[in-house]
Amino acid sequence: AKTGTVSSQKLREAMGVAQHHDAVSGTEKQHVANDYAKRLYKGREVCKAVISTAVMGNPDDLHFCDYLNITLCDFTQKTDEFTVVVYNPLARNIPTYVRLPVSDDSGTFTVKDKLTGMYVGSQIVPVTQPTLLVRRNKGNADSELVFKADNIPPLGFSEFSVIKSNFSDVYKKTNNKGFHRRVR
């Protein structure tokens, strides 16, 4: 209400329409299914601004990637230093694994918990063949950066800093005590 135009009302309305039994069961005609999808999409887009406003104080600062399931995300591929915000809607601490589309072109990634400052173990996993098939000609991420987001607080979020470095940068960082600890 404070931010005026940023509201979850559009998604509430789309969800209201989607309570029709045809939407719940999937027995609608194809053009109706397309319309339901469009309404939900528009509602979600506005809600992203709501979340961004809550977390960042600005409706446009937070980025979302809708196609992480097919390893497609321009933001994580093209940004060398960024922060991952992991929000936990449950009322208890949980662990989760985060998988981010990246291009593994002669660089390396370091992940750090922004609250504790501790380095977080990560792994680069090549994109699978079924992902390439389902992605068709979209995107060119050849790998996923995988790390464990542990102990995400209940109804709150954790932040992880991801920094892509080329190999010469990594060599310099080995003098860093924290980096040494992670390697060990």
Partner: protein, 288 residues
């Protein structure tokens, strides 16, 4: 040629190197080792027959035979170990056919086996409507009984060819035993439970003792005449058929631990964390 094994603190999954199929699942905590085989099949969708003109469609699932076809050509699955003995995630890719894939994952510290299936575009040039299923076989004496959730709420006991409130004359041996699965399906004997959690609503059943199956994708050429008026034949962006991708979360547990584990995992799946990003520029860092 040799067997392939992936393992974390909780589970060990062995794949048969000769045919690519899942071979055993071991629950390390409880000491249970269960021989498990999995295959992907397709039911040929009915276009009606002498007994009934009813076609398979959006409302009605009706295969024209109880015997499904293999998605593979010869029952063999191509196997690729993408990540072997690595610290965070281990992955095995299974190719059942050009349009049926699965990636089995074990994450360090996580008490489940993740099977990410990718189905499609379902081929249609043979003119047969296809309803694709994943079926697991395991040697448990389940007496035709299994459990599914009702709209994500109460879990109900299902029994093959049986209805609790009337005498059933079963005329459809497959469709008549399929039930909605909104979050999970499981079956057990007196000691062990096999549970699958889904990431979306699917149809599922246990047609034989020690089996569970879930329908993942369909492509049909007939309408069931219940009001939709068009066949379930989404052609997708490239006009060759839709590709669907989803996950099954598999648990093998002792009967005493099973409920605790699948209920906690279900919370984490169905209220899963939301991931978003911001660039590390100076103003954002100040906020942080």
């Amino acid at each position: 040629g040799g067997d392939v094994t992936i393992a974390n603190e909780y589970f060990k999954v062995v794949f048969d190197g000769s045919n690519g199929q899942m071979k055993t699942i071991a629950n390390i905590e409880s000491g249970i080792t269960l021989p498990v085989m999995q295959q992907m099949f397709w039911y040929n969708a009915s276009m009606g027959n002498n007994i009934s003109l009813q076609k398979s469609g959006a409302y009605v699932f009706r295969p024209n035979s109880s015997t499904p076809f293999h998605c593979t050509q010869d029952g063999k699955i191509e196997l690729e170990v993408l990540q072997g003995d690595t610290p965070l995630v281990q992955e095995v890719v299974q190719k059942f056919s050009d349009w049926a894939w699965q990636v089995v994952r074990l994450y360090s510290g996580m008490r489940y086996i993740e099977a990410e299936w990718t189905i499609g575009p379902i081929p249609f040039d043979d003119g047969y409507g296809k309803e694709i299923i994943s079926r697991f076989y395991f040697p448990l004496q389940t007496n035709g009984e299994f459990y599914t959730d009702a709209n994500g709420r109460e879990i109900l006991k299902r029994k093959k060819n049986f209805r609790p409130t009337w005498t059933l004359n079963q005329s459809e041996p497959v469709a008549g035993n399929y039930y909605p699965v909104n979050s999970r399906i499981y079956t057990n004997d007196t000691k062990t439970q096999f549970t699958i959690l889904t990431d979306r609503s699917q149809g599922g059943s246990s047609l034989f003792n020690g089996t569970l199956e879930l329908m993942m994708h369909r492509r049909l050429f007939g309408d069931d005449a219940k009001g939709v008026g068009e066949p379930l034949n989404e052609t997708g962006q490239f006009d060759d058929g839709l590709i669907a991708r989803g996950k099954h979360f598999i648990l093998v547990d002792s009967l005493s631990d099973a409920a605790k584990h699948h209920r906690l995992l279900a919370e984490e799946i169905y209220m899963s964390p939301l991931v978003s990003f911001y660039a590390n520029v100076s103003t954002n860092d100040r906020r942080s």
